[in-house]
Every structure is written in structure tokens, then in C-alpha cells.
Subunit: 427 residues, 2 copies
């Protein structure tokens, strides 16, 4: 298949989500002819970029196979304060790169004079990074599109159909990015950015990339680290082996995996994912009117919560004294601690405050999620009937979730943080 | 009048909001007798604590006279990016103290060993503070109860009935609190607090007080200052002459006026206003079940916006091409920049993005408010009829306002940040 004068097969080998019947039949109408067999050049020798994908836990539910994107069952998610590594959601934009830790190198470049750095270039081996002071932080990571499937119910959006499981909470350990930059003499500057690039390459050999403000990278309370451990184990390949940057409180897309290059620059990353993807828009902005330059790249995420058990449609036993038990998670970006989760089983007539399980980290630096449990009274006359449970969280800046998806709908289906509503059957 | 064995007149002289017919007739039922004239001790010689109140602009609309609490007309508010000092809302908890700048002293005390300070006590004169490096910050200050009158419509709450005008935006100048603390050798410690006390005294001679986390006070990006200027003019008496602490991004109540004492301690302020007042609760928490220890003191405020013009019920001219013009403010706490304000005139069917007027400060340090203007198309067939305009703001962490007050109602009527809805008549 040809496009713009050259083969598009390598692109299609990587972005296999387009390789479906619907799109192929759509393309059929654009066929201008077939290349005669004697002119054909085989693309087989390129090998499949997917041949070296890691093995995944069979309970992960894929949102797409290639690139691999999958979330764990919600019940498992809410059972563990630290998400077991094999159940941590996987969000890959490209094939998983194969990296030999012995030859791995992280390049650090200070591109701009404005950073005031003494040293402009540095290469760190894996051992160099491990030799720096080790720092640990508990941080939830959430995909910008978590809970997109709920927003889609209002009107369709473009993006993987995630449930509420595109989030996980782990203890991450590694070197502070701050220490690396300060050692090079980088000075605080509110106008600079840190560009982060992975070893995962698109078909034109451009890496996955993102950026964060330099102020976040240098902030002692920002806890940005070059992580080599996840829950006290070496990173596995799906989560960025050997080094992944952890940017606590910030949307998953900026927590670049397989990190190979860091650039301090006076501009954000030029990558597709920084410029034309993870951004929010007004509900009335559509693909004809969208201007990605008009919206800032998502960094900190808004407050959210989800009910993990019971599951939608589940038959739930009502206790003898008329209660049902509900369990879930809540989180807010920017280090804002969850201060309360409210539940209702009567559409807001009465609200019940959940019991929180969370770390005792200070506000502004509370990057882990909160698990919560609540016993909610229900009308026992409703046994056998459907009841809807709503959850809403409040963070330390007293931001709350919006009530519905209609007024936060956006064409990319990101920032999908309205009340979580689950219909159950009382038993 | 006697209470708990001593005269309650001094309290009543100060808290004059209780001095009304309803409460007096309620108290009549508790009368146990009259003191015979020969036993009476005159309280006249105490003088009125209100005798020395400053003069205020006649356009300020009082929510209470004693203590004086008042807000400007919304139209004036939205006309000025920097709120003129005479129109800046006034929120006094007690009578305005009379302070002689020549004898004024700010006492700084490091109460706890955990601060690691070399110097434990310091007294700063007004001239000492002016001699420190001068720092300016644009910061909106908002009362925790701003827009309480809208929340009251759901169910009554306890507190002054503020409209949407208990907010103002100014350029504040003074010394950094950080510089004072660092000079005394205070070290960062996430568990410590800075207690702030004013010269305004309650009838038991306790000062108005509040506290903020030490991490905010020491943060270079926190911009906490001991302000002596407001919009380049000396502070006036209503706004804290001679020194007021400005805690950008934080609820008004922590921006203590007439500042006379600062204490670094391992606990929050014990004051009523820190412990038992400015806090949020679940909508189902009432005065019988409330436990103030269960909720954190409000620091950073949630995202909000309000329509300042047209006013409710106003007859609004529709332009020839079918538009109405709307204007207002938006703000979020914690230094989070407003990234978008959406308006609708058809209950969310279509949303229109406003044009923002704001400073170009970096996110996380964007403490000023944003004024906004939007031209919204209306159905010209509706001329002569009522149309409701809604505003909702989005901050840099992509938090949005909740849709309605019902689910954020709280017994103190604080954090009243649902969509602003204004009914107008199309002309």
C-alpha cells in the first residue's frame, strides 16, 4: 500500500488499531490500482515491530492489542493499596523497545542559555543513575483518558475506550531528576521546560515524547524521579525498563517510559502527544473547529473517584441492618490530598462519608491515591430492584467532581472525572 | 445582662449582628430577673469598640455593619482588573484596631525545636519590614463564604449572606515572609505551621488568628508577603494597616490583617476561625452531627467564576446579529491559572468560550484573577422572554465548577462555587 509516494506498511505495522474491516473497506474506495507482482518489494524482512512484546497477565483487559493498552479488573484494583506490578494498567503508544541495561544511556542536554547551566551535556549509564541518592515516592499514575467509556455515552469521542481501571498506585524509587539538573548547574526559570523522550520510536524513528515545566522538575516537593524500581522490584518492560520518569500528580502521558533523553529547553516538547493530543476543550469544540494551540497540555489532573465494587449490574446483598458495602479509589493531581469521598444511593438526597485508606503525606505532596470503603443505607423495600450508587471526591483545595459528563464532554474524551454512577441490583 | 457569672455586654458590643429583635425576644424567655438599679455597674466607660471604625465608600453593600462586612456592586468589580482599594470587599471579624505605625511591632517567635532555627525571637518595626527586599504579587483574595447567598437557596446555612462580590484582585507589595523566616534559620519541615495573629481583639482579648503550612510560607513560588501596599498605596485601615499577610491562592481568612504576631509551631492556630469555622462538610452533615476536627481547614480555594454583568433580571439588548455580551471574573486557588471560561445561554446545549484578561504568570504561581468577556448568540425569537446564562471556569489542573449547589451544600455555606446562573430579559 502506498501513501505520499512511499510504503505506508511500516506505519500500519505499528498502528494496528487501524487495521480493521471497517477502515479497510473505507480505504477500498480510494484504491487507484494494484502494483504488478514483479514490481512488488517484500516488506517481510523489516520484521514485525511487535515480535518482542512482553508477556502480560491474562486478567488485563486490552483496550487495544497493538500498541498494547490494558486495564485490570476493578475488583482487583481496589483490593490493593499498592497496585501489584502485573495488574498495573499498561498504556503504550508504540511497540515496547528492547533495551540492554549494559549499554543503556540517558542523555541530558541543556539546550538553552536561559537555564544558566555550567555543564551543557551529560550521559548517564544505568549504574550512574543508581549511584545517585535513592528517593522513593508513592504516586498514582492515571491515563488522561481514564473513564473515557463513560464520556462516550454522551457523544462519541476519539480515543481508546478505557473503563475506570486506567490508573494504578505504586511506590516508585530512583534518582531525583532535580539532583541531576542541579549538578549541571541548572537555575530555576519559570519559562523553561524539561523535554522527556523514550526509546519507543514511531515509523519515522521519532521517539515518544512529552514535557513538563522546569519548575516541577526542580521543586523539592515535586518529587520527580528517574525510577528504576516499582514497588521495590526492578521496572518491567511494559512499565519502562530500565528507567521511567515519574512526575507525581501529573497525567500519565508525561511519565515517559524507556527514558533515553532529557532536554532543558525554552519550549515544550514538539511531539504529537504534547502538542496535539492530551488537551481539554469546551464541549462545543468539534474536529472542524479545534485548534490545539488554544489549550494547554494537561499536566496536573482534576479530582476524581470511582466505585470498584460492586460492579455495574451486580446483585448485591443487603445486610440485615439495611446496608450495602461499596469500595473504590479517589485521587487528585498536583499532590492534592483527598479529604473526603461522599456516596449516595438516593440520587443525592442523603450523602454518606467514606472511610479513607491513604498515606499520611502532607498536602501538596500527597501523590498516592486513596482507597475508600463506605456502608450505605438502602431502602430495604427496594429489594430485587435497581439502585444507582454515586461517588464524588473532594480534594484538599476543595475541588469536587462535576455531576455529569454532558458539560465536560470533549472531543478527545480526556479528563473524564464526573461522578461515578453504578447501577446495582439489591438482593 | 449576665452570662456565666459576668457581663456579656462587651461581647454584645462587638458581635452586634446578634443585637436584633428576633434574638432579643428569644432571650426574653430566659430572663431570670432584673438587677436592682443600685447594684448596676455602668459599662459606658468602656467606650464603644466601634467608635474608631474607618469611613467606607457608600457604594459598598454591607452584609453586616458591626463587624463591618461589605462587597462592591458586581458591575464595578468586573470593570477593573485591579480592584480599586475603596471598592475591595471588606471582611472584618472584629472592630478595626487603631495602630500607630511609629510604635507598631511585629513579633516573630519560633516556638518549636523542630524548625531548627538559630534565632527564636525577633521583633520587627514597620521600618524594619520596609527595609527588607520589596516583593510584589498580584493576588485575588476571596472570602470562604463568597456566593453564600446562592447556596442558601438550597437550604439555610450559618454565615453572612454574601453575593458574588466578596472577592477582589490587587497588586500587593511588601517583604517576603520567607526572607524573615530564613534569616532566623528556619528549616523546611512539612509538619510545621505558621500561626498568624492580628491586632483585632475579641472581648476576652484574644486576637483574630489563623495559620498556614510552613511549606507555603517558605516556598519561593508561594509568594507569601508581609504587605504594606495595596495597588501601590499604603494599606488602608480596613485592609490591615500597617501590615497584612498576603497568602496568595489561599482563602481570605488566612490573609490576616493588622498582623502583630507570627509563631512557627508544630500545630495549627487554636483560634475559633482555624478550628471551628472555615471548613467544608458533606451535604448531609448538620449542626447535630458536625465534628470540626474531621475536616481540614480551608487553605487553597476551588475553581470558580461569576457573571458580573448583566445583573439578574436586567433587560439586555440583543445585538443586530443576535448576540448578548456577558462579563465576569474567574479564579482558582493554589496559583492555578484559569485556562478557560465557558458560557451557555441554552442550558448547556451550546457552550461559548470567553476571552480572558489575565496576567502572564506561570501556572502554580498565577494568583491573580481573570476577567472575561463573551458574546453569546441567543435565539432572537425569545425577545421579551427570560433567558438563563451559566458560567463555568476550568483551571490549569482542569478542575471545573460543580453544576449545582445541592450536592456541595454545607452547613457553613462556604466553598460555594457551582456554576453561576443569571436570569436576564432579552430586549
Amino acid at each position: 500500500m502506498l501513501g505520499a509516494g512511499s510504503a505506508i506498511d511500516p506505519f500500519w505495522a505499528i498502528y494496528q488499531q487501524h487495521n480493521n474491516k471497517e477502515i479497510l473497506s473505507l480505504l477500498e474506495t480510494y484504491r487507484i490500482g494494484n502494483i504488478s507482482p514483479e514490481d512488488e518489494v517484500s516488506t517481510d524482512d523489516m520484521g514485525s515491530p511487535w515480535a518482542m512484546e512482553p508477556k502480560r497477565h491474562p486478567l488485563l483487559k486490552p483496550a487495544s492489542e497493538r500498541p498494547f493498552n490494558a486495564e485490570p479488573p476493578l475488583t482487583i484494583l481496589a483490593e490493593n493499596f499498592y497496585t501489584p506490578n502485573e495488574f498495573f494498567y499498561v498504556r503504550n503508544h508504540l511497540p515496547v523497545p528492547v533495551i540492554d541495561v549494559k549499554t543503556y544511556e540517558l542523555e541530558v542536554e541543556i539546550e538553552t542559555d536561559k537555564a544558566g547551566a555550567k555543564s551543557r551535556q551529560k550521559a548517564l549509564s544505568f549504574e550512574d543513575i543508581k549511584a545517585l541518592p535513592k528517593h522513593s515516592v508513592t504516586a498514582a499514575i492515571m491515563c488522561g483518558g481514564n473513564r473515557r467509556s463513560e464520556m462516550t455515552e454522551v457523544k462519541s469521542v476519539k480515543g481508546l475506550s478505557w473503563g475506570a481501571g486506567a490508573v494504578g498506585n505504586a511506590k516508585w524509587s530512583g534518582a531525583r531528576l532535580r539532583d541531576v539538573l542541579l549538578a549541571m548547574g541548572v537555575q530555576p526559570n519559570e519559562n523553561l521546560h524539561v523535554i522527556l523522550e523514550g526509546a519507543d520510536l514511531d515509523p519515522t524513528s521519532n521517539p515518544y515524547g512529552a514535557s513538563i515545566p522546569l519548575s516541577k522538575a526542580l521543586d523539592e516537593r515535586g518529587d520527580v524521579i528517574l525510577a528504576y524500581e516499582m514497588n521495590d522490584k526492578p521496572l518491567n518492560r511494559d512499565h519502562g525498563f530500565p528507567i521511567r520518569v515519574i512526575v507525581p500528580g501529573t497525567v500519565g502521558a508525561r511519565n515517559v517510559k524507556w527514558l533515553t533523553r532529557i532536554v532543558v529547553a525554552d519550549h515544550e516538547s514538539n511531539s504529537h502527544w504534547q502538542q496535539n493530543d492530551y488537551k481539554g476543550f469546551s464541549p462545543s469544540t468539534d474536529w472542524d473547529t479545534v485548534d490545539f494551540t488554544k489549550s494547554p497540555a494537561i499536566q496536573a489532573m482534576p479530582v476524581t473517584s470511582a466505585i470498584c465494587t460492586p460492579l455495574p449490574g451486580e446483585k448485591v446483598k443487603v445486610s440485615a441492618d439495611g446496608f450495602v458495602e461499596v469500595r473504590g479509589y479517589a485521587w487528585s493531581g498536583g499532590g492534592r490530598r483527598i479529604v473526603r469521598v461522599d456516596l449516595t444511593a438516593d440520587k443525592g438526597k442523603s450523602w454518606h462519608v467514606a472511610t479513607l485508606e491513604q498515606e499520611n503525606e502532607p498536602d501538596g505532596r500527597h501523590y498516592g491515591w486513596s482507597l475508600w470503603t463506605a456502608r450505605i443505607p438502602v431502602d430495604t423495600k427496594l429489594k430485587g430492584e435497581e439502585v444507582e450508587i454515586w461517588s464524588k471526591a473532594v480534594d484538599s483545595a476543595y475541588n469536587v467532581q462535576p455531576e455529569t459528563f454532558a458539560n465536560i464532554w470533549n472531543l478527545r474524551g480526556v479528563l473524564s472525572n464526573a461522578y461515578h454512577r453504578v447501577k446495582i441490583l439489591l438482593n
